[in-house]
């Protein structure tokens, strides 16, 4: 007896140990610190390109602290204007405090507020101009934005342009905000729209502290509306009218206004065959597009951002120009994230290319002209001015995604940069300067076309971008149990999807079906017929959410859920 008991107990212990060991042996998904390094993929992708073609990034000792200070100041100003992200309305006291603090942030030089006393001041002095500028927009903007009732989720991307140590411009783009717009059909009412909102702040240092000198805002809706007037025609140049920008209050646009139609036409004629249109395709549908510049026979310059996005979303890239010529993409020669540059090699060596050389007139308030294609059919021109010159050129040209990669010219028709994707759907844009582009073209200057190495798009995509696998079909439901449950509720007759997984544990059957036609058929709708059958059999329905319904009867409970494109059915006895 004693021995038997000992045997039973020891068997029990061994069984428990084994069960735990077996479970420990099934591995767990690893997510650790290493998972959160966000450069690894880029580094791996870049390893494919010939080192000789890559251009060193400056890694100048960016004054990190200073940039951080301005970023925090930008966030704070946004908070003072709009309240907290994701928030309910604050109380009147909080609102009052916020408004007061915002006005205290205003640039307020030692000029008396009484407009009569301006009479003695030099109207051409910078202090006078700054005070007028600040008085124009800063106080009123608070109430304007309040009226629009902007709701936003989080602080978005912040960009900083340092003009000099006393003057900084920063912009913050809030993605997908919800705000009011008057309903033009029904004037008594408001619409609420979802759009991106970009706020531009101009800070000037006063007594050691940065103060808000000027600000304005703009929505991506405005930009998209502005660009919707599409009248590109094959073989013709259409002209974009000037974007009505509040930048005219701050900068002198006379040089841009003075550009004649003739100048633009000359630039068009000289360059129309040197600008290409790129379209990324997935399954016969276009997923994104951009412009590109032919910088050498067989080499096209476009933006890094566009190529990366294409690798993520598309299967191929089609390249064409406004003369109707098509180019076959051989591969990618080099990519650079900092400069937003991508150089592509194409099979056709176009005789027409824009020579990359030194250019003049890259100064603030100089005129810039861009010629690009919005649709791939014809070309459109726009003009504006340079607003800031740092490592990159900032211009007053509005920019959307399709226009990244376009060339910008000075009034003499010289190429001075390429519009890049640093900021999209706004009324200002950044361009990679010709000085940087020169570095790339210099690296490739002495290499013959045939010797230039390029990695194919397909190869990059296969190694670094998503590959889906087929799920293993596993059905471990014992037949008798399956017959028992199926007989009662006839699920086989009502759900016509493929069964991917089935299991029976602890009296619960779980079934997973795959809905391959998810784009056209809603997964829960497919289960609706089965649900109707259950109702006929006196089950009580409880709709918990759009994706979960529970049916209960005296003896059974059946839960129907959807997740990804699966229909999951759980059946249990109660």
């Amino acid at each position: 007896m004693k021995n038997k008991i000992v045997k039973i107990i020891s068997l029990l212990i061994i069984f428990i140990i084994i069960e735990n060991i077996v479970y420990a042996a099934t591995s767990e998904l690893i997510i650790n610190d290493e998972t959160f390094s966000f450069n690894k993929k880029d580094e791996d992708v870049f390893l494919n390109f010939d080192n000789n073609y890559s251009v060193e990034n400056d890694n100048e000792e960016n004054n990190q602290d200073f940039e951080q200070e301005i970023k925090e100041l930008t966030k704070k100003t946004t908070y003072l204007l709009l309240g907290e992200p994701n928030s309910q309305k604050d109380s009147s006291e909080e609102y009052f405090k916020r408004h007061k603090d915002y006005l205290n942030l205003r640039y307020n030089p030692e000029i008396p507020k009484d407009p009569n006393s301006y009479a003695d001041l030099d109207k051409n002095s910078q202090e006078y101009k700054d005070d007028i500028l600040s008085g124009l927009s800063v106080p009123g903007m608070f109430l304007q934005l309040e009226e629009l009732d902007v709701k936003y989720n989080s602080y978005g991307e912040i960009r900083i342009s340092v003009i000099n140590e006393n003057y900084v411009i920063s912009s913050i783009t809030l993605d997908d905000v919800n705000m009011k717009e008057q309903n033009s059909n029904s004037p008594m009412e408001y619409n609420r729209i979802n759009t991106n909102l970009t706020l531009y702040y101009f800070f000037k240092k006063l007594n050691g502290e940065f103060k808000l000198l000027y600000l304005y805002g703009e929505t991506s809706e405005d930009i998209i509306d502005y660009f919707n007037n599409n009248n590109e025609e094959k073989g013709e140049l259409s002209e974009n009218y000037d974007y009505e920008s509040q930048l005219r209050d701050i900068y002198d646009f006379s040089k841009a206004d003075a550009i004649s139609d003739e100048t633009i036409n000359n630039i068009y004629e000289a360059n129309k065959s040197k600008i290409v249109f790129l379209t990324s395709m997935y399954d016969l549908g276009a997923v994104s597009s951009a412009n590109g510049i032919v910088i050498r026979p067989g080499l096209i310059l476009t933006t890094y951002n566009y190529i990366i996005e294409s690798l993520m979303k598309a299967q191929t890239i089609l390249i064409s120009d406004s003369d109707g010529n098509n180019y076959n993409l051989d591969g990618i020669v080099t990519l650079n994230k900092e400069d937003d540059v991508a150089i592509l090699k194409v099979a056709e060596q176009n005789e027409n290319y824009i020579e990359i050389k030194d250019a003049d007139k890259i100064n603030q308030e100089e005129a810039v002209i861009t010629i690009n294609s919005k649709t791939g059919v014809g070309l459109t021109s726009s003009k504006g001015i340079i607003t800031v010159v740092n490592k990159e050129i900032q211009t007053s040209l509005p920019l959307t995604e399709e226009m990244q990669g376009s060339p910008i010219f000075n009034s003499d028709g010289e190429l001075i940069g390429m519009l890049n994707s640093k900021i999209l759907n706004t009324g200002i844009s950044y361009a990679t300067s010709i000085n940087r582009i020169k570095e790339y073209s210099n690296k490739l200057a002495n290499i013959n076309y045939d010797d230039i190495k390029a990695t194919s798009f397909e190869e990059l995509k296969e190694n670094y971008y998503i590959r889906y696998h087929d799920e293993k079909v596993v059905n471990t439901i014992p037949e008798n149990k399956w017959n028992e449950y199926n007989q009662i509720e006839n699920i086989n007759d009502y759900i016509t999807l493929d069964l991917v997984k089935g299991s029976y544990e602890d009296g619960i059957i779980s079934l997973r079906y795959e809905n391959k036609a998810e784009k056209y058929l809603n997964t829960m709708d497919i289960a609706a017929i089965y649900g109707a059958n259950l109702l006929d059999r006196n089950y009580v329905k409880n709709k918990v959410s759009d994706n979960k319904i529970i049916y209960t009867s005296e003896n059974y409970q059946i839960i129907i859920m959807s997740e990804f494109n699966y229909l999951i059915v759980i059946m249990m006895k109660i």
Partner: protein, 546 residues
Amino acid sequence: MKKKLKKFMEKNKRLLLIICIVILAIIIAISLILIINKINSNGKINIVNQNNYSLQYDNTWKVKLKEDNQITLEHKKTKSTLNIIIHQLSDDEKYKSIDELFDNLLYNIEKQNENYNLLYREKTNITQNNLEGYKILFESENAQAEILTYKQGEKLIVINYEALNEYFDILLDSANCIIDSFSIKEETFDLKTNINIDTTQINYSEQEDVSSMLNGTTDYEIASSNYFVNYTIPSNFKSISFDTTSGYYEFENTPNDGTITLNTTILNRNIYEYLDKEDSPNVYEKYNLNSYNESKEQLEKVSDDPITYIYKNSYLTFDKTTENIVIMYELNQNHIFIVEISSNAVGIPKDLVNMIKVNSYKNIANNITIEKEDNLLIGNLKSYVGYATEQIEEIKIKLPEDYQEIDKETNLYEDRTYVKNYNDEKEIYNYEVNYSIIKYDIDSKIETLENSINKEYGEYTDFTQESNKTYNNKEFIIYNRRYTNRSNAKDSDGNYYTYHTNEKVLFYKISDEDYLVIEIRANDNDVTDELVNEVTKFNTSLFDAN
């Protein structure tokens, strides 16, 4: 051995029986307790409340690891795991979008877990904050893992639910409940939110003779600054002018030869800023109390919902008391409805103030209401004749339905504008008609119009008077202005203004003192007789004010 045991049992039969019963009772009790616990604990929800996050889970799970930035739950029975990591993004990363971060995250996960296969990924909305995030499904030899990731503020949240194949779907719902309950606590900026305003209970004047006159209330409405308010005041107050944007009233038959006036208005201002003496405009600055004798002021907070303050001041002018009471109702954070009562030679009693109420208010885009009669658009103008309040003139404008009224934030009883035929290409209406009542002479009106022409629209002749004409049985004095030449101004597109505007102004005498003015502007068209006929179908009526 057996014999000894038998003997022992025989000897202690009773004792053994008692022991057996006791053991049985204990077993039954323990079982009952366990069963009751199981029933109770099956629905029990546990709460985790850390410094920077919180979540809830049911009793089938237990906490395996709990730290400031990570929590791991394990399902008791099946050993499935739910792991949540809050990763603080570095300066380079915190302003990137979730799309950019996710691409790299997925790459790293795949590289670190080569024995897992990617089945699905989708972009989705994360319930609690409606943030966008990504969900992915991985499969290994015998288990599946679902990963959810989203960005909130400067943090990246990664949630991983993993279970053996046979349990994954069964526990999915429970795991989703836990995930739905998870939320991180945001840091906020540290700004104080209190403001200091001294308040006290207001001393109202005892004024029996005024109190005894109060005998009922009347409702009125005003609309301006995108707000509409319906309010009640004592009926003793009569309108001294008709205005859709503000109210002006005077108390009838005030004793002591005194006056009590009441004004209502909607102000686009925050109530605390309006009450702040260091801010401008504020409620105090209009009165300039320092320049008077025996001036006093008090401020009382009367209600929290809606926030209502009453300000009162009083002072002596030529031995007569002047009192001012301002009632401020907060409509929203930057709109206040104000009732201002001013009296001279009498006091304002509390009864009077208590009869003033706000009935309703709403946030509107504009305050035009569309009225139609017999397929004609109707609009009303209304005014006292001249500057006295003895006679009222009313004009009922009738226009064809294809006209549309546009709001210009003006007093709609005095001034209305209608437009017709929008020209898409030139972005202007072909016809504009404005109706208004003037109380001064025609010459002054013409002079005002001369000076207000927008020269950008072209070069024009001066207004010249034509001979009088009759339309719809009414005689009009007529002035004309014609376009002569294009101006050199360009529009924002850089084009010259290519339309030309012709203008006709008609004056119709409503009463001895007042004229109805109809200004007609035709852009790129002429002002034809037909058009004038169309816009002169109004009716006028004159009656005594009671």
